[in-house]
């Protein structure tokens, strides 16, 4: 009986495959009859299609603005924006690529997602594209193939930092901590005054790797990522264990029954002023404000253990744009990608999505978002689990999440977590040989 349902799901997938294959045929029409969007009506129009999983109304508005700005530098290009529902995007894209009916410019899932497409030879390398140099190596790594070539232009960033309730801090006479110890003192003070220091819950695994991503770099140190990739450091190395112990050490500052709380509860507790701080993604801010429009939220980066250290926020590239290898408009598509490296574009993205742009030097009026954007440019460290652990089946990222959950339920020690995660990593990871 279950198999029946299950096979139905398989069939549903198959149907999606067929339907999307049918619906994606006329991508590369260069039409000269299209109405001119800008003043220069004489130029021959080139239609460049863009596909993405960001399917909201605001996205359509954003593309109108992008079109306008783009035509100031490339008047001939007309963008055709084709959004696909996020949950169906991967399937529909893989079918479109196989049937040679995919869009010219493709929104690429970050890290392992891009690597898979690049390795399957669906993407055009864009090394040497003008403007690529504005990105950091960590950001560019989100859109590379196993061959080390660049296949995409990073689109926007997500950032995890510590958000705090300004009113609660003021009422308790607290200031933004500059070191980890100061932050623990702040937490102690809040606890003394009967305010839960951190909104936290371990019921949903993804929340755990998100928060680990934010605080861990202060414990495993700046050179860990490189050592890890070279195979010189493992996930059960002492420095990584320290980062897990740090997660465990915050336990006394979490709400009662935190093992039963999920992101919704975390959001509610922070928004309703029951807690002073939360380690959280920038993408939660809008939801928190929707619950309580009057809340005054401040942010600070995760403070360093050592007073001389550098505070950090954890960022990751949330998608890139790359070029379909079989596109008939590669030159025009490259021009669009070039535009995607400019400050004009970065500023459009920042203001429209309220997410930090990887392009340095852009700003927005929203004070909180702007602060996060500025720290993303100067104090960013990669979100470890998404950047390096998102492969394997099941992924090592989900192994980390489950093991952390086990730790908070007292089923595993921090060392046990490290062993589990390393075991999962061993099933697929190969260090870069130098």
């Amino acid at each position: 009986m279950k198999t029946k349902k299950v096979s139905l799901a398989v069939l549903a997938l198959a149907t999606t495959v067929v339907v999307s294959a049918c619906g994606n045929n006329n991508t590369n029409n260069s039409s000269s009859s299209a109405p001119a969007a800008s003043g220069s009506a004489a130029v021959d129009k080139v239609k460049v299609s863009v596909t993405s999983w960001r399917a909201g109304d605001s996205e359509v508005e954003l593309y109108k603005k992008i079109q306008e700005e783009l035509n100031k530098v490339a008047p001939e290009i007309e963008l055709e924006y084709k959004a696909v529902k996020a949950t169906e995007y991967n399937t529909s894209l893989s079918v479109a690529l196989k049937t040679d009916s995919a869009a010219d410019i493709i929104h690429l899932r970050p890290y392992a997602g891009t690597t898979a497409l690049a390795d399957a030879n669906y993407l055009e390398p864009i090394d040497g594209l003008e403007g690529l140099s504005v990105f950091t190596a960590d950001q560019l790594a989100a859109a590379q193939g196993s061959d080390g070539k660049q296949y995409g232009v990073p689109y926007m960033l997500s950032a995890t930092q510590i958000l705090y309730n300004k009113d609660i801090f003021e009422k308790n006479g607290l200031t933004v901590p500059k070191t980890w110890d100061e932050m623990i003192k702040v937490a102690d003070k809040l606890k003394e005054n009967k305010v839960t220091p951190f909104a936290f819950g371990s019921k949903e695994g993804w929340v755990l790797s998100l928060m680990h991503g934010a605080i861990a770099p202060q414990f495993y140190g700046a050179d860990f990522n490189e050592k890890f990739l070279k195979g010189e450091a493992k996930l059960n190395s002492p420095e990584f264990i320290k980062s897990i112990e740090a997660m465990n050490s915050l336990k006394p500052y979490f709400p009662n029954n935190f093992e039963g709380l999920g992101m919704e509860d975390i959001r509610t507790m922070f928004a309703t002023g029951q807690t002073g701080m939360v380690i959280d993604g920038h993408f939660e801010i809008a939801s928190i404000q929707a619950l309580n429009p009057d809340i005054k939220i401040g942010m600070f980066p995760v403070p360093p253990v050592d007073a001389n250290g550098k505070a950090s926020i954890s960022t990751w590239v949330d998608g890139s744009f790359g070029i379909n290898k079989n596109s008939k408009n590669k030159e025009a598509a490259k021009k669009v990608l070039q535009f995607m490296t400019t400050e004009t574009y970065g500023s459009l993205i920042l203001n429209s999505t309220k997410s930090p742009s990887p392009i340095p030097g852009v700003s927005t009026d929203d004070e909180l978002v702007n602060e996060i954007a500025q720290y993303s440019a100067t104090n960013a460290v990669p979100y470890f689990a998404v950047t390096y652990l998102n492969s394997g089946s099941p992924t090592t990222k989900s192994a980390l999440e489950n093991a952390l959950q086990g730790m908070y339920l007292n089923a595993l020690t921090p060392e046990g977590v490290a062993e589990e995660v390393q075991k999962s990593l061993d099933t697929w990871f190969k260090p870069v040989s130098k």
């Binding site: 029946k4 349902k5 299950v6 398989v10 893989s94 019921k203 089946s393 989900s398 959950q405």
Partner: protein, 313 residues
């Protein structure tokens, strides 16, 4: 002559029409084939191939099955989930069907207000199971849920646990909620069984002095053998295809720490990728689907053949 010809013509026409009747099931057969037969066969085929994301690779014999049963973490997850399915079945048999029988018996005895009670007990079954999951998630919320608030108000604060966040209580909580949801349906099955017993037999048993528990044990239950088996089989299938409630309340990872993982949840996560953004392993997922199909089909068939043997004996 004319008449005879006409009659033959009519007969001919009607026999042609009679043949037409065989076409009537075609739509049903077509739909059944597309949505039932084909997916089952497809799952069987998929389970024998290698998969790279959504792309079918090479034929690889029984590698997916071997991976499922020998490789970490799949093998641990499989036995863990299977154990939970068995627990699901046992608790449902005892709690859900025990209560359902009791309720059916009360209604059968025609106490006052049976009409109302019948509807009331059946009511949860009319809710979408996703709604049920959401509702109970709110009731069981550790800090804001009505259950823990109530426990604290009556001085039992130390019993106010994180019901769904604690591995010791999460699975039991989910099974009990599923029982609450399904009691009405099984009560109706029992009621139909009770009503099929002829009143003469009951009358005679009573005259012979069988009352109360004795009547239930020695007369009613043996006479309800067939409906009882149907209940067992349906409970078994319900327990082994359970998915929605865990998915709605505990997510696709069977959280916390795989303590509410079930075969179907494990299948979903493996085949289509969990919420962590896995790309999914369709081959191993299909192998698991085949294993589940075999388990459910074999055990159901064993039950049914046992009944048939008992019936013909």
């Amino acid at each position: 002559m004319e008449n005879a010809n006409n009659a033959r013509l009519i007969r001919k026409k009607s026999s042609w029409r009679k043949q037409l009747i065989h076409l009537i099931p075609i739509p049903a057969v077509a739909i059944y084939s597309i949505f039932v037969v084909y997916p089952i066969l497809a799952a069987f085929t998929y389970s024998l191939f290698e998969w790279n994301g959504m792309t079918m690779g090479e034929f690889n014999n029984f590698d997916n099955f071997i991976t499922l049963f020998t490789k970490e973490p799949f093998n641990t997850m499989f036995w863990n989930a299977l154990g939970h399915n068995i627990y699901y079945f046992v608790v449902e048999m005892v709690v859900q069907n025990g209560i359902a029988f009791g309720l059916a018996y009360i209604i059968f005895k025609k106490i006052k207000g049976t009409g109302f009670l019948k509807v009331a007990y059946f009511l949860p079954r009319l809710l979408s199971i996703i709604v049920v999951g959401f509702l109970w998630k709110m009731i069981l919320n550790p800090n804001m849920g009505i259950l823990n608030v109530f426990l604290e108000k009556v001085g039992l604060g130390s019993y106010a646990l994180a019901w769904l966040g604690n591995p010791d209580t999460a699975l039991t909580a989910v099974v009990l909620i599923n029982s609450w949801f399904a009691i009405g349906f099984f009560m109706l099955l029992f009621l139909a069984g009770l009503q099929s017993i002829s009143s003469e037999v009951l009358e005679a048993a009573k005259l012979d002095g069988a009352v109360g528990f004795r009547l239930v044990r020695s007369v009613i239950l043996p006479m309800m053998f067939q409906p009882l088996v149907i209940v067992v089989v349906m409970t078994f299938i319900q327990a082994f295809e359970a998915f929605e409630l865990v998915f709605a309340m505990q997510g696709s990872m069977g959280e916390p720490y795989y303590s509410t993982d079930l075969l179907a949840v494990f299948f979903y996560r493996t085949a289509f990728g969990g919420n962590a953004g896995d790309s999914g392993a369709l081959g191993i997922g299909s192998a698991l689907a085949v294993v589940m199909f075999v388990i459910i089909a074999t055990i159901s068939a064993l039950f049914m053949s046992y009944v048939n043997k008992k019936d013909s004996a």
